[in-house]
């Protein structure tokens, strides 16, 4: 660990114990976003929350910010319980969240004005923050006149100007292009290393493994559904870190392996009522992507097996883009994932080598066999007298076991896969499933 400036024996800077966040569903059941999460922040460290979308890491960040009150658990800032937004914690947003009707200057000063800081002092601090973050000269610009990178600098300046103890960052670089993101990351790290930032700790959410390894002293890996801390990794590489160093690569590989190990990450709580097999969330992945990845894997470059980080780099994908494709293939039985590798199965190879009609037949077979929801709808359609199945009740049945958003996405996924397989189709007007060309 670097950055051991001061070590206090008193209460940690921030401590969450056994935090649970659940939303009641109309069905009476709960949708659990976070479950049994512990987190402590100490002086002088950057902590990363790494996980797939939907793992509740953004919710956790909002719990720390005091924007969301957890359903259960203990939240303490410097030993005092948190029951709302507290002084000493400021946040940087993925979407920048700048007020479009305020200039850079006014945006940065907003937090100070809200607190009623005297004008003289507020102006001095605003100027200081703007200089520090490299925005001098842009004071009178409106956000829409700025590039993405400059906008996020405003986001940083606005957070830093209130001199928070803890800086929260919600995927702050993911809306930026690769080069801009890298510049901003290094600028921020430099200021942090030189101890020029008026903050004691940074907590950041990311889904980019390399970014986490590059910046953090500690990484908490989250599992999904419900969100739990699956692993905690300390990063002791000295700054400035080099992405190409073997140690760096090894750590990235380890985390990939950790995140691709399927079952242990999403261990279901044993006492929970077991949902029906078909109520399993699916990610909406286009069949073009599925076919594309299968073809790539089958190509001579990979010979049916690839290292995921390597593949991600080669395809210029982030994990959030690549994982759902790989997982869908895994579920359909066209590929297997283990230890951060992806390997083509026999049917997968067959698919890649087949023509359109054979592909569709193979896909349909696997869909019914391996995806319970597809089998469920298919069977229900065969049973129904008019061979139609309204989507509303099905959506409600799914939503009893997952969020509405996931239920939507799951239905979208199954619809597009079934259409490709020509297994069944969906009629938007009557909002129901049915067989194709049924007069």
């Amino acid at each position: 660990m670097l950055n051991t400036t001061t070590s206090t024996v008193t209460a940690p800077l921030f401590a969450l114990t056994n935090v649970r966040q659940a939303y009641p569903k109309p069905s009476g059941q709960e949708y659990v976003v976070l479950d049994g999460v512990d987190l402590t922040l100490t002086n002088g460290e950057i902590v990363g929350l790494l996980g797939r979308s939907g793992s509740g890491k953004s919710t956790l960040l909002r719990v720390v910010a005091g924007l969301v009150r957890p359903t259960a658990g203990d939240v303490r800032h410097n030993g005092a319980p948190v029951d709302g937004p507290t002084d000493g914690i400021a946040m940087v947003f993925q979407t920048f969240a700048l007020f479009p009707w305020m200039t850079v200057w006014e945006n940065v000063m907003a937090g100070l004005k809200a607190k009623g800081v005297p004008t003289k002092e507020a102006e001095a601090r605003t100027e200081e923050a703007i200089d520090l973050i490299g925005l001098s000269g842009f004071e009178s610009a409106y956000p829409k006149e700025l590039s993405g990178g400059m906008r996020q600098r405003v986001g940083f300046a606005r957070a830093l100007v209130v001199h928070p103890e803890i800086l929260l960052m919600d995927e702050p670089f993911s809306a930026l292009d690769v080069l801009t993101a890298e510049t901003l990351r290094t600028d921020l790290l430099d200021l942090w290393m030189e101890q020029r930032l008026p903050i004691q700790s940074i907590l950041m959410v990311t889904h980019n493994i390399e970014e986490a390894v590059l910046m953090c002293d500690r990484i908490l890996v989250f599992s999904s559904n419900p969100g739990r801390v699956a692993a905690e990794i300390r990063v002791t590489l000295p700054h400035p870190r080099n992405r190409l160093e073997p140690d760096f690569r090894a750590l990235v590989d380890d985390i990939y392996a950790l995140m691709t190990a399927r079952k242990p990450l999403s261990a279901a709580s044993p006492d929970a009522k077991r949902p029906p097999a078909y109520a399993e969330p699916l990610a909406h992945v286009s069949t073009n992507l599925l076919a594309g990845l299968l073809e790539t894997l089958a190509s001579p470059a990979y010979h049916g097996k690839a290292d995921l980080p390597h593949l991600a780099a080669a395809l210029q994908h982030e994990i959030d883009d690549l994982f759902p494709i790989a997982e869908a293939l895994h579920q359909l039985g066209f590929a297997e994932m283990e230890e951060g590798d992806i390997r083509l199965t026999e049917p997968g190879r067959l698919f890649a080598e087949s023509g359109v009609e054979d592909r569709k037949r193979l896909f349909a077979e696997h869909l019914v066999l391996r995806v319970p929801l597809a089998a469920h709808i298919h069977a229900a359609l065969k049973r129904a007298a008019n061979h139609r199945l309204p989507a509303g009740p099905l959506h409600a049945a799914l939503a009893a076991h997952m969020s509405d958003g996931y239920a939507d996405e799951t239905l979208r996924a199954i619809t597009s896969w079934a259409r490709y397989a020509e297994l069944f189709t969906y009629d938007d007007e009557s909002e129901s499933f049915g067989f194709e060309d049924l007069e």
Binding site: P100, W101, G116, E145, R151
Partner: protein, 591 residues
């Protein structure tokens, strides 16, 4: 409401007047003087108004026009205040919204001229012996034509404030006041300004209609363009009608250039879009004022003051702190928690019950009032006449659509032409069509035409333009690549209209048609019963029924007619326009 951004720019500028001030100064002083003159006349004793009846001398028209304009402005200010309070209340309180939003929906379905019939007596009693009561009644009528859609727009905006911006405000601990003036109000502003413009555009019609009104034996004449017109009709002077039309043209033009252009250009700043690409609306007046040194220096302190006012905390911190202390106590926490949990449903239940009782009571009062002066056959008549008016509205919308949709598409596809026609169409939509009614009446009388048929077009005379300018906007916004694709695949003739163009402009068309149909219902009260000197023409319809009942001061029948019309309008909206709108949103919206 001005978030003038003084911090950086003004410091550098020198306050000495520059050449732009030469133009701006007389403008401002002149407008201030006009407000003073008009305002003094408004509070004149009632006798003096009665003593000086409206004179048809065109030289007096500028003064009359000024009075009408001030009424319009006063109504707009009232609408703004109403909007801020009503929409904020509805957006902030779930229970209030349960009542306020349906009420708003009904309020906007009630024919505007229906309001004036009731309120005139009330306002006259409020300020006995002064014209102020009559002024208030007229202003209230204009207000009812403007306020509802503005309130809806702000309510919608407040409900859809971007979540991340809300979190910033919450995270920095903005007080309710700060949050409202620095986040919610600016976010709602572009929509509000647009709706103000639409309201204003519809409002001129009601200014004209409400300045000379007879309820039973009370005739109220307020000096203005509307009463000038009424006098011209009474004296059968077509030349005076022409002067009134000219005055109105100039007033609307001035309003657009001096008030709305600058407002729209200024409000563009508050649009939440982070791409700078879109064309910014421009206003010569705003540019002018932003270039003057003197005015900027003059307004800078005001801007700073308003800015500071926006950042007042003004919250009940003391109360909340007391609550926090309570919270610190564990016992109290559980207690508060329990109290919060259980009674919530009970309170909801009680609230529903109160609303239901109040609703029933109001309904019963209304029925009892109608029953006091009208029987079942009156109800039958009202519905029958309502059917006649409904038929007219449908026929007119269909006819106007058949004419203006193809024309609008043709115009919209030619950018040069669209640029020239669009402002004219918007202007025509704002122009109060009732100024032109006398011309039509003269024609009908001269050629001895059937009023049932020939009075109908008057209902849509002013509102058809909404269809035209919306279709033009839709055709102009039609994606170029789709046009090229259609040309590339040789899609022509009827197929081009059916598969390419009509679906493309449909969402825009619906917006225009909804406005046109709402306006036609309102206009029916004026259009189905018209006069020229001593001749009066009446068409069979609900509008004519209400107009006649108003002239006779027959309150039960006024209420009956208005209730039936409001009901028909609500049904028409629910059963026709809403489904069509939803369909357009779902299937035909070009991303």
């Amino acid at each position: 409401m001005v978030w003038i951004h003084t911090s950086v720019s003004v410091k550098a500028t020198d306050a000495a007047p520059n050449r732009w001030d030469v133009v701006a100064l007389p403008l401002v002083i002149g407008l201030l003087a006009l407000v003073a003159i008009g305002g003094r006349e408004m509070t004149a004793p009632l006798d003096s108004v009665a003593a000086t009846p409206v004179d048809l001398n065109p030289g007096l028209l500028p003064d009359y026009a000024l009075r009408s304009t001030l009424r319009m402005l006063a109504a707009m200010v009232a609408s703004l205040l109403f909007t801020l309070v009503y929409a904020t209340l509805a957006a902030k309180s779930r229970r209030a919204a349960m009542l306020l939003i349906p009420v708003l929906d009904v309020l906007q379905s009630v024919p505007v001229l229906g309001y004036i019939s009731f309120t005139v007596v009330f306002f006259l009693a409020l300020f006995p012996g002064s014209t102020l009561g009559a002024e208030c009644a007229a202003i209230f009528a204009i207000f009812t034509s403007q306020a509802w859609n503005m309130a809806f727009s702000v309510y919608q905006s407040l409900r859809t404030v971007p979540r991340d911006l809300g979190e910033v405000a919450q995270g920095f601990g903005f007080s309710g006041w700060q949050r409202f003036w620095t986040l919610e109000a600016p976010y709602a502003l572009p929509g509000l300004v647009w709706n103000m413009m639409m309201s204003m555009s519809g409002g001129w019609f009601f200014v004209v209609a409400s300045e000379a009104i007879t309820v039973g034996d009370r005739t109220i004449t307020l000096p203005g363009v509307g009463s000038y017109l009424a006098e011209a009709i009474a004296q059968q002077r077509l030349d005076a009608v022409g002067w009134a039309v000219l005055a109105m043209l100039l007033v609307i033009l001035a309003y657009d250039q001096l008030l709305f252009r600058p407002l729209v250009a200024w409000a563009a700043k508050f649009r939440v879009e982070l791409t700078g690409g879109r064309e910014a609306p421009e206003s010569w007046l705003l540019d002018l004022f932003q270039r003057t040194r003197f005015f900027r220096a003059l307004f800078a302190p005001l801007g700073r003051l308003l800015d500071r006012a926006c950042w007042w905390r003004l919250s009940l911190t003391g109360v909340r702190d007391a609550g926090r202390h309570l919270y610190a106590n564990r016992l109290a926490t559980t207690l508060m928690h329990g109290m919060k949990q259980i009674p919530n449903r009970t309170v909801d239940g009680a609230w529903y019950a109160v609303l239901a009782v109040a609703g029933l009571w109001c309904g019963w009062t209304m029925v009892a009032f109608i029953a006091s002066g009208a029987g079942w056959d009156d109800v039958g008549t009202a519905f029958l006449l309502g059917g006649a008016t409904l038929l007219r509205v449908v026929a007119l919308i269909v006819t106007a659509s058949l004419i203006w949709v193809p024309l609008g598409v043709i115009i919209g596809l030619r950018p040069r032409l669209a640029e020239a026609v669009q402002p004219a169409a918007q202007f025509l939509a704002a122009f109060p069509a009732n100024l032109l009614f006398p011309v039509a009446v003269v024609g009908i009388v001269r050629f001895d035409l059937d009023p049932d048929l020939w009075l109908s077009p008057l209902m849509i005379l002013g509102t058809q333009w909404y269809i035209l300018f919306n279709v033009i906007a839709g055709a102009a916004a039609f994606p170029n690549d789709l046009k090229e694709a259609a040309a590339n695949f040789h899609i022509r003739g009827w197929q081009w209209w059916r598969d390419v163009m009509l679906p493309g402009v449909f969402p825009y068309y619906i917006t225009g048609a909804v406005t046109a149909s709402g306006g036609s219902w309102n206009a029916s009260i004026v259009a189905e019963a018209v006069r020229w000197g001593d001749t009066s023409l009446t068409a069979h319809g609900l509008g004519g029924y209400i107009a006649q009942a108003t002239a006779e001061g027959d309150y039960p029948r006024i209420v009956l007619g208005i209730a039936v019309m409001a009901m028909l309008v609500i049904l028409f909206n629910r059963l026709l326009w809403r489904p069509l709108y939803a369909f357009a949103e779902r299937r035909l919206r070009l991303a």
